[in-house]
Amino acid sequence: MASPTTTTSVQQLEHLLLRMWQIRWFELRAMELFEEKLIRGSVHPYIGMEAIAVGACAALREDDYITSTHRGHGHCVAKGLELKLMMAEIIGREDGYCRGRGGSMHITAMDRGMLGADAIVAGSSAIAVGAGHGLRLQGRDSVVVCFFGDGASNQGILHEACNLAAVLAAPVVYVCENNEWAISTPVTASTSVSNIADRAAGYGFPGVIVDGNDVLAMRDVAAEAVARARAGEGPTLIEAKSYRITPHSAATKTDLRPPEELDAWRARDPILRFSRYLTGEAGVEPARLEEIEEQARRDVEEAVEFAKASPRPEPEAALEDVYAPADWLTPGRLA
């Protein structure tokens, strides 16, 4: 466990833990809701990877942005989205962030700097560049963090986006969540290089490897990359080595990963490790940790209650919001 390089109050540390627990409980409840058929389609749990999003977002300001993936709940929680509105979204209710239109894979919350989750693998990598450039054009010094997976690293648009971000020196930080697998395909089989971070050299910007199960280490490398981006020095690629402890998705019943591998990573559980650090070096009372976990659990439970009480969308509303308001939408003007 890395020690914080910046002075960090106990309160701040506890907040990181809270976020990690919120993600953990959110995902556990979401998997249950999927089994209960309250969630349709799929749910891709972030369990085991909580330190990446929480660490990275701890390095961000409120007016910074992120883009996210199919496995996006963790990013949302880490960026400070409201659990209630998230939960309502993923069970398809009107009070959800997207009024139930988007579901688990498409949560968007501009007011919290969440540009959107994207179910197209690597699909948001160029969106991040444009957002970064667009913010700068408007005189803002916000930074955009783009999360993507090891599997996504072989997608063409990521290459294009990295190169474009580099030549524009766009304020973007790429965070590759290398959890070793893309559904059933191990990163060693899909990816022609041992460390995805090494590809950064091909774009002329720094590539950094970090223990993705160490929330403080993650926060520190992110902070450096964010500072670089904000200063106009261009992108950084952070490769966070981690693992997903749960299956690819709640809908995917086959899991081909060796049980020993899973066990080994369970032992490196980022929440356990951080908890150990907190009760050890940081001197936090164990009881306090239990309180934090309990609070997270309550927060998630409240979110579930809120979501369940939220109304289902009316079928007629399906035709709304295809287009933004425009002259040519004047009723009666067009068939």
């Binding site: 349709r40 389609g41 894979m105 072989n154 059933s184 079928p315």
Partner: protein
């Protein structure tokens, strides 16, 4: 003809079988039928190989490639990196040198990533070469609407390929057709886009264990009827058959034409039916504007306008991205009631209050 979701195998086999007679007929799911087609074609022809995401060890997200890795090894059953365009491009290259690649897109929406390789390359290479090369390439993908996968995993995009010269486009509705058409697609010397409706994967139907093929470009009348011609494909056929059952109780006989192949289009079968019934309803699960439904209306107007006794009616998805929540998704996708309404409308049985 047989009922909803099944086709009389011997009839179809008779119409287009390349095999010798009919063997044992089992009830298979569509994914099992497709899997059998791949096993048989890979056995038959060592130049056939499959490439896609999670298709080897896992056997595909929907088990269509199950068992292939063990039988044919990793050179012919390739778990590809997530890079759909390169997979498609590699398929084109392998086809050019004499292989018969089958590329699987996990979800059909990802066609948006391979349009260049499929349309600008696979579909054109032969013509651009003055007919000097062939591109026997198959692109398969699962159309995943109807189960809450939301806007980026629920599109039905065959119309894009129908609009692209040089391609064959196939969308089966039954296990029998799926197997026979996939075998035809693999054997065909042209690039084929083969779209499979995910909700149909688990649907069972009779499939003989012989080496039959279903011919490309031949529609099938899945149910005869004299009052209205209903034309569709894939899931739409089942909507039509269900609607037909309901309407039959009211004495309305719907003829259900399953295109099976969208390009080339078996316009003769469609027109023969319209000439008989004088009424046309076409259906697709795709968004309405620019859909195959529109194309069908235009094609029928070309050659059988005078046979139409009323305006043809299109039953389609709404022109919206696919929403996640169940009531919304249901409202966007065409339902059996919509087909019933359309039939009533085209027959003037209800006010055309649209």
């Amino acid at each position: 003809m047989s009922g909803v979701g099944s086709t009389e195998p011997h009839k179809s086999a008779g119409a287009g079988s390349a095999g010798a007679g009919v063997g044992a007929v089992r009830e298979l799911t569509m994914s099992e039928a497709l899997n059998e087609a791949l096993h048989e074609e890979m056995e038959r022809d060592p130049t056939v190989f499959v490439v896609g995401e999670d298709i080897a060890a896992m056997g595909g997200l929907f088990q269509v490639t199950s068992g292939l890795l063990d039988r044919f090894g990793p050179q012919r059953v390739i778990d590809a990196p997530i890079s759909e365009a390169a997979q498609a491009g590699a398929g084109v290259g392998a086809a050019l040198v004499g292989c018969r690649p089958v590329v699987e897109l996990q979800i059909a929406d990802f066609v948006s990533l391979v349009m260049d390789q499929v349309v600008n390359h696979a579909g054109k290479w032969r013509y651009m070469s003055g007919g000097r090369v062939t591109v026997p390439f198959v692109l398969r993908g699962a159309v995943s609407s109807g189960i809450g996968m939301a806007a980026q995993h629920s599109q039905t995009l065959e119309a894009w390929f129908v609009h692209a010269p040089g391609l064959v486009v196939i969308m089966p509705s039954t296990p029998y057709d799926a197997k026979g058409l996939l075998k035809s697609a693999i054997r065909d010397d042209n690039p084929v886009v083969f779209l499979e409706k995910r909700l149909l994967y688990s649907r069972r139907g009779p499939v003989p264990d012989t080496d039959y093929v279903v011919p490309i470009g031949v529609a099938e009348i899945k149910q005869e009827g004299s009052h209205v011609t209903f034309v569709s494909y894939a899931q739409g056929v089942h909507l039509g058959l269900q609607a037909a059952r309901q309407l039959a109780r009211e004495g309305i006989e719907v003829e259900v034409v399953d295109l099976r192949t969208l390009k080339p289009l078996d316009i003769q079968t469609v027109v023969a039916s319209v000439s008989k019934t004088g009424h046309l309803v076409v259906a697709t699960e795709a968004a309405r504007a620019g859909s195959m439904a529109s194309e069908l209306v235009a094609r029928v107007c070309d050659v059988a306008f005078d046979a139409l006794r009323a305006a043809p009616v299109r039953v389609t998805a709404k022109d919206t991205p696919m929403p996640y929540a169940a009531p919304l998704e249901r409202a966007v996708l065409p339902q059996v009631e919509d087909v019933v309404d359309a039939v009533n409308q085209v027959l003037g049985r209800v006010p055309v209050g649209r």
